[in-house]
Subunit: 671 residues, 2 copies
Amino acid sequence: MKRLSISALCASLVLTVSAGTKLADATGYPISPVPFTAVKINGGFWAPRLEASRTTTIPLAFSKCEESGRYENFIRAVHPSESNKVDGYPFDDTDVYKTIEGASYRLSNFPDKALEHYIDSIVEIVGAAQEPDGYLYTARTQNPSHPHRWSGQQRWVEVENLSHEFYNLGHMLEGAIAYYQATGKRRFLDIAQRYADCICRNIGEGEGKLRLIPGHQIAEMALVKLYTVTGDRKYLDQAKFFLDARGTTLRKDIYLQSHRPVLEQDEAVGHAVRATYQYAGMADVAAITGDSSYIHAIDRIWDNIVGKKIYITGGIGARHEGEAFGDNYELPNATSYNETCASIGNVYVNYRLFLLHGDAKYFDVLERTLYNGLISGVSIDGGSFFYPNPLSSTGNYSRQPWFGCACCPSNISRFIPSLPGYVYAVRDRDLFVNLFVDNSAEINVKGKKLTLSQSTQYPWDGDIRLTIDKGSADMAVNIRIPGWVRNSVVPSDLYAYSDSLTPAYSIKVNGVAVDGTLDNGYFSIDRKWRKGDRIDIHFDMPVRTVKANPLVEADRGRIAIERGPIVYCAEWPDNDFNVHNIILNRNPKFTVSEPLDILGNIRQISTPVQALSYGDDGSLSVENKTLTLIPYYSWAHRGEGDMNVWLPIELSAASAIPPGASSREDNGFFK
Amino acid sequence: MKRLSISALCASLVLTVSAGTKLADATGYPISPVPFTAVKINGGFWAPRLEASRTTTIPLAFSKCEESGRYENFIRAVHPSESNKVDGYPFDDTDVYKTIEGASYRLSNFPDKALEHYIDSIVEIVGAAQEPDGYLYTARTQNPSHPHRWSGQQRWVEVENLSHEFYNLGHMLEGAIAYYQATGKRRFLDIAQRYADCICRNIGEGEGKLRLIPGHQIAEMALVKLYTVTGDRKYLDQAKFFLDARGTTLRKDIYLQSHRPVLEQDEAVGHAVRATYQYAGMADVAAITGDSSYIHAIDRIWDNIVGKKIYITGGIGARHEGEAFGDNYELPNATSYNETCASIGNVYVNYRLFLLHGDAKYFDVLERTLYNGLISGVSIDGGSFFYPNPLSSTGNYSRQPWFGCACCPSNISRFIPSLPGYVYAVRDRDLFVNLFVDNSAEINVKGKKLTLSQSTQYPWDGDIRLTIDKGSADMAVNIRIPGWVRNSVVPSDLYAYSDSLTPAYSIKVNGVAVDGTLDNGYFSIDRKWRKGDRIDIHFDMPVRTVKANPLVEADRGRIAIERGPIVYCAEWPDNDFNVHNIILNRNPKFTVSEPLDILGNIRQISTPVQALSYGDDGSLSVENKTLTLIPYYSWAHRGEGDMNVWLPIELSAASAIPPGASSREDNGFFK
């Protein structure tokens, strides 16, 4: 097995190898990521977020793993006993793996010997729990009377809690690979690889093997990653076996997307996180193997998601029940589930589809998810988390520092530090500028090493200066013109701008305006670039109104308000009236504030509305008010209360609570 | 064949024989009608209606039959020719038969030699068109190249316009029997009976016969009536054959209720008029044969209609397409079809179910239909007609003096004169007082002849004085306490009173209050009655509000307003604002006017509302107004314009048209 240099291995969360290295081709994607290790966030919107992740989220996650007995489970597995029951869920091991993964990304930028030592000691505990043949799943190992190995994969209903053996493998691999890349230490990777080998020996086609599929599809993504790291084809084959066997084993279940073979799937159904991991795994296998039938399948599913199943916040998985996608256009607001993990999965899928197709529309969805339904899952200080991310609330929602099922905090732990990896990408002599983030980066384009930087307050304004700080290259710089500038909310029939604005944009090179046309949503400037060259990008950033497809019942007669990539909401602390009992002006006008000293320097939006209520005499009252809006992601930082994203602009959607009643359900006349 | 006396045969439209005659038992119904010939309308609400029918509707119908070539068709049939095409529809003959039927009822009360002579001459023309074997269907006879006899019954799509051979028989029999009863003249009855014999010879079970069913089920009702008049069992057998064969022939079609055998039907589907005639025919056959399976089937269907498919006006058949029942709870307002003929059919069915079961709930539905969705079908002057009877309008609806397909005017011609037959009924020593109508009547109860009278302004107030004017009897007088007094809109889960009123009622005999309990909705006073005895009935008649089952989408957030049996609506001439753009007070208060000198001395209702609109600046305006309501049946007498029955009381149902826009669809913001 070929040993790679650590620097070459310091890759993004998503794909293992950096652009320009030999193994980049091993991923098969026509476009290569510029890994997060090559991009440094300097300031602007994201610097405080990444700092909060480093100083709060990851330490918190480790301490919660410790407090909640997640390490203890490994120790118990060393000495199996009837009296030792599983604490919590059988997939609790993965919170340890996911936090190691996030910490590893952090170690790349912020070397920290104490932290490294801490992780080394966890790895030793993890390794101790491994059975002689490589099996590593504390839920079973610590209690021999539990159902035998792999049984949870076969019998769904009876032993549901033992169905995460492959899920645990997936996150173990992701964490182990990240730690190996960050430190060069093989110990954790060896442990994980031995578990992978154990599964490859026991599961698959052929004599003596069990023909089983993972209940949760992280394994497929992780096995592809293990292949790109090790070059050992059997891991890729195992991932492909898992994908191809799905829908052909006895375990047919829409919840875990095994209702039919993956190539025949054309609608996003079932558990949303599992679904996105499956689609990401399919993209990874398709990129390497060149199998276009996989690509056609995920393209169809993507059309289904963005056309019929995604919230305007980028959230997916509308239903609480089964944490699942709903039916087409089933997008309730107060009860929307939108698990934070599903938003992360949605980023994975869209990123991969960009790497396959090079179309900006995937980054439109990614950016929408990122700035809204994903970061709403973590508080601004990095210390508390949402599991579901609803679009409307009458209270009873607040972020928690941890959950019994802690997938979301640990997924946030590993996602946020990986953010810099999404900013750029390269293909041959093309450089893609996908996100507008204050950063400096070192990028190889066709063997030329460049240092460049962005200076921007995006998403608060639409001005970005991109500078070549070092090096020169003959290349095309492809700047993504965001969907909200291209008048495309997402390329779908689900949402449309309902205002008549067409935001202008301009691009100057060294102060001189450049004309050009858009190709797949990118503005391309092809020339010889030299040190000191600068690109000034300007997007007009008006407040915009969006309406939903009328088939979305919950949004009828309502509009949502956006500025740039940010979806806004009305929340109780900023308004002295019930934010649900309003009607917007039919021709709404908006005012945008200067950056404020609250909620991480947000900008508020205000607009005249009418507050509706009933008088004691039963007649409707209408009072002129000013509604103040904040970015959706920043809600629920000031206590529980009313919040709303989709605001009534037609009477059919408006409500008016009579005096004394606390909610619409209590309002008297018709019970 | 037994020849009955003319006086005994002067019976109601519905059932041929009067109570107390021998053949009454032949109908098999446990309750016997008191025929319309025994009841004289003196004044009050109905006298002007019947007078309009006599002096306007029937003469108009005859003149339209003449003008439109309906007589000419019979003459053409005497001399068939390739060049003689059918004028209009193949069922145009029935308008002639139906008008003769209505005129016959009129002749009973208003002998008119000139009219009788006119009808005799029409009968001669009709008879001339009869083929030698009795076949009488001018659409075919006048043009030999038309498809052969009965073919329209077999092949639905291709020869739809020749499918009314049995329908024409049905109305011919109804008209001929009525004329025979009114005048004792057999000529028309003989003609019709010969056609019935022709059909009995050719259609049915057994060798040489065609196993066909009528496309339209009036034939079944009429053949039973022919049996009760003639005593010839073969007509009853033919009716039963038609019913039992339905759903078992090749012609399976939900439109004409042949999708399954009638005994297996449990939902009202397809063409509403055909459906009601079928259910009425089933009731008639069940009453005579005692076949309870027929009764169970129509009981199930009745539950379906009143629980899920009837409008608050009593209208049925929601869909324009196919003039058909919609799905359960499919009750749109602006597009409701509610054919006038279907309301008449609905009366037939409920009357028969009352005669079978003796429950007041059937008369609750009958009365609701009568005072609302049925008489809305004819103008107050008797000279113009509605085909559909919608519950909401933005204009484009006005009554017409005639239609190419003239079933509704001619059905009104025969129905209105029959109204007196629905007031009373008898069973052994029970007298039923079902409708409150100013009248005097001669009634046999257990062989005792009584003359009694009602004096009332019902439905404008709830005071009725019932007097025994002549005779004496030991009997139970059973007074129907209307559903709106019993707090039951109809005994269904479709509508409910949303106010908290419980209208009081009182009953006095000779000035002394009588206590009693209700049995099947009837207040029974069992005693020896003598000449001069009087019953004073009083119903409180408050304005009441009704809400629909939330499953009726079109009525959500709305209420309807009733007083007594009358459903009210808001119409444009009485209001100086758009009656659609209002919201009712949450605790609506109502004022009832004195009788007014408009629209036949109606009483109006008024209530404070708020008129909603948008100002030029896009903000909602709310203006206090008084909404004036009129009885639904009296709308559309003052030109075309806005009308609404279900009025918004919740914001979700309210609309507000911006200045300059003419309807909600034009209101700007979202196209």
